[in-house]
């Protein structure tokens, strides 16, 4: 990936805040073995390359630096496939309500 990303592009950077093994003493072992990482989005200040150190200006105007991780961050969370176990509920409950009141 050597694509040049233009200054002004809305990007996501990545920083390691605490390396693996240097985490707070109270964290469980599995967390102790991985770094504490930060991701934040902002406008790229100078042309940059994915995987290299860049500087961004966040939406509030702060300047932060980190590794350019995602040159085109996007919101990918969704609703997803309807779940069979839930689909039945509405019909079942309507059926119960239709039954004669005891």
């Amino acid at each position: 990936m050597t694509e040049k990303i233009k200054a002004g592009t809305w990007v996501q950077i990545h920083q390691v805040i605490l390396p693996a093994g240097e985490r707070a003493p109270q964290v469980p072992d599995d967390t102790q073995e991985v770094p504490l990482e930060l991701r934040v989005k902002g406008f790229l200040l100078d042309n940059g390359v994915v995987g290299e150190e860049v500087e961004i200006e966040t939406y509030t105007g702060r300047r932060l630096s980190g590794i350019l991780e995602d040159p085109h961050p996007s919101y990918e969370h969704k609703f997803g496939r309807p779940v069979h176990e839930l689909l039945k509920i509405g019909r079942e409950l309507r059926r119960i309500l239709r039954e004669k009141e005891v």
Partner: protein, 474 residues
């Protein structure tokens, strides 16, 4: 410039916080371990009347109280003859940012604005972030939100990704971290770097902001039914929702209304575990926050937490993840209200409780939250499947958090399971003993502890012996 490494920043915690919340907590200290809670609430916070005005200015509150007539009919089909209370729902999703958290944010952001802070910062992975961001827009302040979102694979919890998106939609800067309590370190650095106000969930401002919710729902029930609600069920996590609502009810004079906490049962999952993080389908309203914050409120990001749920909690119930998804679906399918799952935790508990109550009684579910991509049962269950969690129909009693989600086969299987409050209260005293190391307390402390865990001074004295703490009344 001050050192920015972990130990140095954490060592400056108190001075950073003092500047960022503008409260000298020391002046409320009393005895050896206690503080004057009511004095803190009245001197630092705002009156109910002032808060109503602050909230009116930004369109917060005055949400509708809806009667869930079809769900009540369903309850009566399942309940013994003559049983089945009427269920009402406070539709807090109608707040500007889509949840009751707008109430909490409104006062903090107002206070920051009034005191000339250029911006606000909040450490939250929940609806509170969007609430602070939205209120900040309305007051013309900048906003930074610090979230715990990803595991070490870079997989984000869908619900938290959605909350992050919503914050960004309001122009907030969102710092998205991987799992771990050291989020607090990043948070402190941001406060130090910006000089912004700490819009903590746990200051008197945040809690007082929720009092209007309790007062309002009480007024609405009285106007419609000419009486007070018998029970109010509150989704419980950090304790602020419960504390604020209960205080509001008391201020309205509803001292007979039973205050019931409800959390999703996530027993067995470690909240700081990178592995467990994406094996839960609820990121709030669960026992992973509910129990630790009840048993030791002062673990919060301020020295003295204004959310003190044990002072107000009459009962504590848990429900399973599968049961809450079931009731979320029922709310949409029977009442025409599509709302976010986490806010429906209290609905699931109320559904079970209403079956034990008389038909002329009233039970109020005191919040809903907005729903959307990620914050939805489909999104959460698909995500659970991707993370190796079994999703099936069956008896929810068999659900094991982190391994399975069991959607009830029938509404009759939905249960609310009691948590032993005496054990919770004992844990509180254990945490007190461990975190303060105190061996001797005075009469003021005893009075404080008695109010904290709602036990007589004699009972507290007896319980303290177990932790080798003696009461010295001078």
């Amino acid at each position: 410039m001050a050192a920015s490494d972990y130990q140095s920043v954490m060592a400056r915690k108190n001075e950073i916080m003092k500047k960022a919340v503008g409260i000298d907590y020391e002046r409320f200290s009393r005895g050896k371990i206690s503080f004057d809670y009511e004095r803190m609430m009245s001197e630092v916070g705002y009156s109910l009347e002032e808060i109503r005005k602050i909230q009116r200015e930004t369109g917060v509150g005055n949400t509708p109280l809806l009667e869930l007539k079809n769900i009540t009919r369903l309850v009566r089909k399942l309940a013994p003859a003559g049983k089945g209370a009427r269920i009402f729902l406070k539709d807090e999703a109608c707040n500007p940012s889509g949840s009751f958290k707008a109430r909490r944010a409104s006062v903090s952001v107002y206070h920051a604005w009034k005191n000339g802070y250029p911006g606000v910062v909040a450490a939250t992975s929940g609806n509170y972030g969007a609430a602070v961001a939205s209120q900040a827009v309305m007051r013309g302040l900048k906003c930074i939100i610090v979230q715990e979102v990803y595991d070490s694979r870079g997989k984000g919890q869908p619900e938290i990704l959605e909350k992050g998106r919503k914050c960004e939609a309001y122009g907030a800067e969102v710092l998205q971290l991987t799992v771990g309590p050291e989020l607090f370190y990043t948070f402190l650095r941001v406060l130090e770097d910006t000089g912004y106000f700490n819009a903590s969930l746990y200051t008197p401002f945040g809690i007082a902001g929720v009092e209007t919710l309790g007062e309002e729902l009480c007024r609405q029930v009285r106007e419609r039914e000419g009486r007070d609600p018998d029970k109010v069920v509150i989704t419980h996590a950090g304790g602020g929702n419960l504390t604020g609502t209960a205080r509001g009810l008391l201020k309205a004079g509803a001292d007979k209304t039973e205050i019931i906490a409800a959390s999703v049962d996530l027993t067995g999952l470690h909240m700081a575990s990178d592995y467990d993080f994406n094996r839960k389908s609820f990121t709030t309203g669960h026992t992973g926050f509910g129990v630790p914050f009840a048993t030791w409120p002062d673990r919060a990001d301020v020295p003295r937490n204004a959310a003190r749920p044990l002072r107000y909690m009459d009962r504590y119930l848990t429900v399973k993840q599968g049961e809450v998804f079931y009731m979320t679906e029922a709310l949409a399918q029977l009442e025409g209200l599509e709302r976010g799952p986490a806010g429906n935790t209290s609905l699931a508990a109320a559904f079970a409780l209403a079956q034990e109550m008389d038909q002329d009684e009233i039970i109020v579910v005191q919040e809903t939250e907005y729903t959307g991509a990620g914050k939805h049962p489909y999104a959460q269950l698909n995500f659970a499947l991707e993370n190796g969690i079994e999703v099936k129909n069956g008896n929810p009693e068999e659900e094991i958090a982190g391994k399975s989600i069991v959607i009830p086969e029938s509404p009759a299987q939905i249960k609310a399971r009691p948590v032993d409050l005496d054990k919770i209260k004992l844990s509180y005293l254990r945490n007190l003993a461990e975190s303060t190391g105190v061996k001797e307390i005075d009469g003021t402390d005893l009075e404080f502890l008695s109010a904290e865990i709602r036990k007589s001074p004699e009972e507290v004295t007896k319980l303290l012996k177990e932790f080798n703490i003696v009461v010295n009344r001078v």
